[in-house]
């Protein structure tokens, strides 16, 4: 699935984006993959759109509601104390741009389009004071960044001949499955002049898929199989060593 559209004005350029693969198959031996997000920027007449623009790509995984707990020392013991709920935390988030974001747009625009891990819209719920909210958000982003699930690369987009752009974003092996969206933005004079969306489906296939499905839908059978595997292997090893 792929669709591109110009945002505003007739003289604004058109983005034609493409992704190296629209389906990422998670199967045995999957150690992560690299997605190539590339495309062209053209003016409405089909020529090169001219100079002076920057490209920002944002790849986002499916969102989920989470509760973030914070550990605090209580009589010498680190226990979970405060917590905060977020209604939509993307399981994966990567931003790449052709120049540092601060040089391309102002902070307000960056926040609107989520240009950077600091600007991810997490929809916190519940009434907590802004300072605490910010602390929780920093903690969450830091955690996800160290799991390689959130990343930003401010020199990750290459533009060649003012027409073609490309960016490589690596997905680690611990990505969630689901529908990912790759959004590309063309920015000029601090303003987003065009944007386009491509979708990538990450899904388990083959044996991995069967295991994941069975563990959910046939829980009892799955459990019995696990027990049978354990007993069988234990017994077989015993017999084997007894023969030796």
């Amino acid at each position: 699935m792929l669709f591109a559209f110009a945002l505003m004005g007739q003289r604004d350029p058109i983005l034609v984006p493409e992704v190296s693969q629209h389906e990422v198959q998670v199967r045995q031996g999957f150690t992560g993959t690299e997605l190539l997000l590339f495309g062209a920027v053209l003016d409405p007449a089909g020529r090169a759109a001219g100079s002076g623009y920057d490209i920002v790509v944002v790849l986002k995984g499916p969102s989920e509601p989470v509760r973030l707990r914070e550990k605090e020392r209580f009589v010498g013991v680190w226990i979970n104390a405060a917590s905060s709920d977020f209604r939509s935390v993307p399981s994966f988030f990567a931003v790449a741009s052709s120049r540092p974001i601060a040089e391309i747009v102002d902070e307000k625009t960056a926040a609107i389009y989520e240009f950077g891990t600091d600007y991810i819209q997490l929809s916190p719920s519940g009434a907590i004071d802004p300072e605490e909210q910010a602390r929780f958000k920093t903690g969450l982003v830091d955690l996800k960044t160290r799991q390689q699930l959130y990343k930003q690369d401010f020199s990750g987009v290459q533009i060649s001949e003012q027409v073609l752009y490309q960016s490589r974003i690596s997905l680690p092996s611990n990505v969630s499955t689901g529908a990912y969206t790759a959004e590309t933005f063309a920015v000029r004079d601090g303003r987003v002049i065009a944007s386009a969306l491509a979708e990538v489906e990450v899904k388990k296939v083959g044996f991995e898929r069967i295991v994941a499905d069975y563990s959910q839908e046939w829980a009892l059978v799955y459990g019995l199989l696990a027990v049978a595997l354990a007993v069988g292997m234990g017994w077989a090893a015993g017999r084997l060593f007894a023969l030796m």
């Binding site: 929780f136 955690l143 611990n174 354990a230 292997m233 234990g234």
Partner: protein, 301 residues
């Protein structure tokens, strides 16, 4: 060798997991413990989600104890009557454990509770074992085995049964309660509970020593089976690929371990086990009292 774990949702180095399984297998062959107390924390340090680690480790313990039960059963080292009572307790206990798990998860302290249990139980038992082993090596300990006796509380319980192989005439409620306690721990900590069961059988129930290890393994075998099913139904966190890799190592390791056990000095072995247990307890202690691995933890809603 990269292997993708479909339930844990990440890719691991398969050889490391097999090696980890082998390490715990050797322990179980040497000492008749399941080795779950080592597998679960090490898997968590490796980056496997804690629930998947605990659930899969208990399945691994099933495999590691099968051969032990067969061997001990063959030479009359299992008191089946006692074993069945304890297994019944263990199944009830794993049900309680599942409820406790859910309760502590709902108040957000499950990781703290599990760490605390590890520190308290492993710390106590490791210290006791180390002291005993050192005393034996120095020859200063009470080498005369204490007269076998069950705890006075056990004697006060109503309804007595005869357990011939254990040489006991006691109320079945005592082993039932022991079984329940171990079942709870199995569900919460992903351990077989051998390190608690063996001392409980010796010093609380006063069972005859030649059936202790066999009966303990018998109990562990069936209780870990029950917890695997319980985890499959509730947490859905048993990763069969992870289990396979762990088993590959541990069933081989268990055989190697039991061969070393014949040759090595028992007190040295016990000292090594005590050191391992204390090391795991200390690592958990640091996380609880000095600095946790992560200040922030995520729970899906």
């Amino acid at each position: 060798m990269d292997v993708y774990l479909p339930i844990a949702n990440l890719s691991v180095n398969g050889l490391w997991i097999v090696a980890l399984g082998a390490l715990t297998g050797i322990l179980s062959g040497l000492f008749g413990v399941g080795g779950g107390f080592l597998t679960t924390p090490l898997l968590i340090f490796y980056g496997i989600p804690p629930t998947v680690a605990a659930a899969s480790a208990s399945t691994q313990v099933t495999g590691a104890s099968v051969t032990g039960v067969l061997a001990h059963g063959g030479r009359g080292g299992v008191d089946y009557r006692m074993g069945i009572v304890m297994v019944a307790g263990g199944i009830i206990g794993s049900g309680f454990g599942a409820l406790l798990f859910r309760f502590f998860r709902s108040i957000g302290q499950i990781d703290v509770v599990i760490s605390a249990l590890y520190v308290i139980l492993l710390g106590t038992i490791g210290t006791l074992m180390a002291r005993e082993a050192v005393q034996t090596i120095r020859g200063t300990g009470n080498t005369q085995a204490a007269r076998r006796r069950h705890h006075p509380l056990v004697a006060s319980l109503p309804m007595r049964w005869r357990f011939y192989r254990s040489g006991l005439y006691i109320s079945p409620l005592a082993p039932l309660v022991v079984g329940i306690a171990v079942g709870v721990l199995t569900m919460l900590m992903g351990v077989g509970g051998g390190f608690i069961l063996v001392p409980a059988m010796l010093y609380i129930l006063g069972m005859s020593a030649n059936v202790v290890v066999g009966t303990s393994l018998y109990n562990i075998l069936f209780v870990t089976m029950a917890t695997t099913i319980m985890h499959s139904l509730t947490t859905k966190a048993v990763d069969i690929v992870l289990v396979f890799l762990l088993l590959l190592g541990s069933v081989t390791g268990a055989q190697i371990g039991s061969q070393i056990a014949v040759k090595a000095k028992p007190e040295i072995l016990r000292l090594i086990l005590a050191a391992t247990v204390l090391l795991v307890a200390f690592r958990m202690f640091l996380g609880l009292f000095y600095k946790p691995d992560e200040i922030y933890t995520l729970y899906p809603l």
